[in-house]
Amino acid sequence: DVKVTQSSRYLVKRTGEKVFLECVQDMDHENMFWYRQDPGLGLRLIYFSYDVKMKEKGDIPEGYSVSREKKERFSLILESASTNQTSMYLCASSTRGGGVNEQFFGPGTRLTVL
């Protein structure tokens, strides 16, 4: 089974702190994604990566950056956390090419910024 793991299920940080959210997948997927999920707003794409060291902005990249130094790991970075970044963060991965490719999601990290 594909497994996508996220480093923390719950995280509490202070305003202004630098926050790292880590995601690891074990199926050699080329694509990895970071979403945030907020009630009534659904899933919104922050960043995605289709290869090591490659990244593309999603729909809401402001205030976030990402890093992908290894194929299996995709990190989301909040340079200076703010209260409006309190949210559920979901990581996903998928293969690339060859038709239809399912995105596999991790369990999410609920981040609270105080």
Partner: protein, 113 residues
């Protein structure tokens, strides 16, 4: 702007009833339409998906109906069960090979016993 509009926001159905969730999109730059199911405390998981050259796809009690000319697609859950209670997201994949998905805002389904 690429958008997928989903309705209703919440839905309550009695056990054995039919649950219907609707989605609409605004442009034709999508080439694949999946539905994801999310239980509390879990990440979303693919439930069923359809390509735009097919008008209907059925998997067990779950059916997607797709109307390309109207730019609409819907999920039908037949004989709804309490275990179907979850949040459902429709999505559309952006053409071009990036595997980027645009999600609807979700529908919280409650099936009463």
């Amino acid at each position: 702007q690429q958008q997928v509009k989903q309705s209703p926001q919440s839905l309550i159905v009695q056990k054995g009833g039919i649950s219907i969730i609707n989605c609409a999109y605004e442009n034709t730059a999508f080439d694949y339409f999946p539905w994801y199911q999310q239980f509390p405390g879990k990440g979303p998981a693919l439930l069923i998906a359809i390509r735009p050259d097919v008008s209907e796809k059925k998997e067990g009690r779950f059916t997607i109906s797709f109307n390309k000319s109207a730019k609409q697609f819907s999920l039908h859950i037949m004989d709804s069960q309490p275990g179907d209670s979850a949040t459902y997201f429709c999505a559309a994949r952006v053409q071009g090979g990036s595997e980027k998905l645009v999600f609807g805002k979700g529908t919280k389904l409650t099936v009463n016993p």
